[in-house]
């Protein structure tokens, strides 16, 4: 989403979709959503294959676990998970890229990217969350109809 970039940092639509999906559907669905989204990202990215798959599955699982631990109505659940999952996913990516030989560290530039991405993802999560909920309900009705 380069058109929504702030300070060269873009919001991560895939991550936001996975977090919203996990918050609505729980841990297993969150993990599967993260896995599928990560696979797509790995196909598009120059990063070693599997980096995004792992990071997104982790984020999906974490968001799903949060719903199991915190009541869904809790005001801080949505913003908290948007920010935490962004940090978790970015940390996983940086760690895996470092392990693959990328000269990435927790430099000031990377920290700025994570902070800006967290804010952008938080805003996008607030917008996307109800729509993903509707999609989830529509799919559930479809499944029960079968």
């Amino acid at each position: 989403m380069p058109h929504l970039a702030v300070a060269e940092v873009c919001p991560d639509l895939a991550l936001v979709a996975v977090v919203c999906w996990a918050l609505h559907r729980g841990t297993a669905d969150g993990a599967v959503g993260g896995l599928l989204a990560g696979l797509v990202l790995d196909l598009l990215s120059g990063a070693p294959f599997g980096v995004h798959t792992f990071a997104m599955t982790l984020a999906g699982t974490a968001a799903g676990l949060a719903v199991a631990l915190v009541p869904r109505e809790h005001a801080m659940l949505l913003p908290g998970m948007a920010v935490l999952c962004t940090i978790l996913q970015q940390a996983a990516c940086v760690s895996l890229l470092r392990a693959a030989g990328w000269p990435l560290g927790w430099s000031q530039a990377v920290v700025v990217i994570v902070i800006v991405a967290s804010v952008l993802n938080l805003l996008l999560t607030i917008i996307l969350y109800p729509w993903v909920g509707r999609l989830g309900r529509a799919l559930s009705q479809g499944e029960s109809g079968w």
Partner: protein, 291 residues
């Protein structure tokens, strides 16, 4: 014969018409005609418009079906023309980019060597991650693209092919943290290594501590050392120099010459003459991994 009661008037009118005819045919009434037309023409125009408008109003129901069909046909024609115009503009832009590159080759034949082989490619994707800087181009191994080939525009160096598929390739940009290129400062001829950072800028490292060898505004080019890139390709412009007495080297921050966020068409250098190798030794671009 009641009508003939007013025969004097009738006769006067007939006589007058004949007289006017005679005088008019002799041209004697032209000044009066001209004078009258000054007043009459606007009135005539207004009347004509009014009558025409009224006529159109009466015809409107009959025209409606025809107009709808005509409107639909014209709309399709407009859509087609807009598409063709957009296509033509795209072709013009592509032509401009190719002409610019041709100009670069003609101006500087020694950059690529005599038998250089450049392949144009369209940018079809960017890395979705904020941490890495990659492009995906629409040319791959089927077009002769190989890992390690330099990628340029007429403005300067873009990066290097890092991964090749059948019909696409991934290009690591100069600004990616894993990118490292041998470079020299044009003014002072000092050499160093340009490295990508997490962000839009580059850093030129390993410059000797000599004062004044790097200044803001200096241009930085590829040195060609290592043979992975053609020499004298523009990399960027120094924006800031960081020098400390306790460090072994000084560093400079660079702004890339190419706007890497707005790339649409790039060129893959499939063959060039590496530095220090004569024309007979033209070779395929070197393998990946910076130089």
């Amino acid at each position: 014969m009641k009508g003939l009661r007013n025969w004097p008037l009738l006769a006067a009118a007939l006589v007058a018409s004949v007289v006017i005819l005679l005088i008019g045919s002799a041209g004697a009434l032209r000044p009066a005609d001209n004078a009258a037309s000054i007043v009459l023409v606007p009135v005539q125009y207004a009347l004509h418009r009014a009558v025409e408008g009224f006529g159109n109003l009466l015809r409107a129901p009959y025209d409606l079906r025809y107009l709808r069909a005509e409107n639909q046909r014209l709309q399709m024609q407009v859509d087609e023309l807009i598409y063709q115009l957009a296509l033509r503009n795209e072709i013009e832009l592509e032509n401009a980019a190719l002409r610019e590159l041709l100009g670069l080759r003609e101006r500087s034949p020694d950059i690529f060597g005599p038998d250089a082989d450049l392949l144009s490619a369209e940018v079809i994707g960017r890395d979705p991650s904020n941490l890495l800087r990659y492009l995906t181009i629409d040319r791959g191994s089927r077009d002769g693209v190989r890992v390690g080939m330099p990628v340029i525009t007429a403005r300067g160096l873009v990066g290097q092919v890092r991964e090749v598929r059948g019909n696409s390739a991934k290009v690591v940009l100069l600004t990616d943290p894993s990118s490292a290129i041998n470079a020299l400062i044009q003014r002072s001829r000092a050499t160093g290594i340009v490295e990508g950072q997490t962000g839009p800028n580059l850093v030129l490292r390993y410059l000797p501590q000599t004062e004044g060898i790097a200044q803001p505004g200096d241009l930085v080019l590829t040195s060609g050392l290592g043979g992975h890139f053609p020499r004298r390709l523009l990399i960027g412009e120094i924006t800031e120099v960081r020098r400390s007495d306790v460090d072994m080297f000084q560093e400079a921050r660079l702004r890339p010459a190419v706007d890497l966020d707005a790339l649409e068409i790039v060129f893959v250098v499939r063959h060039f003459t590496p530095i220090g190798v004569d024309g007979q030794a033209d070779r395929e671009a070197a393998p990946a991994g910076g130089n």
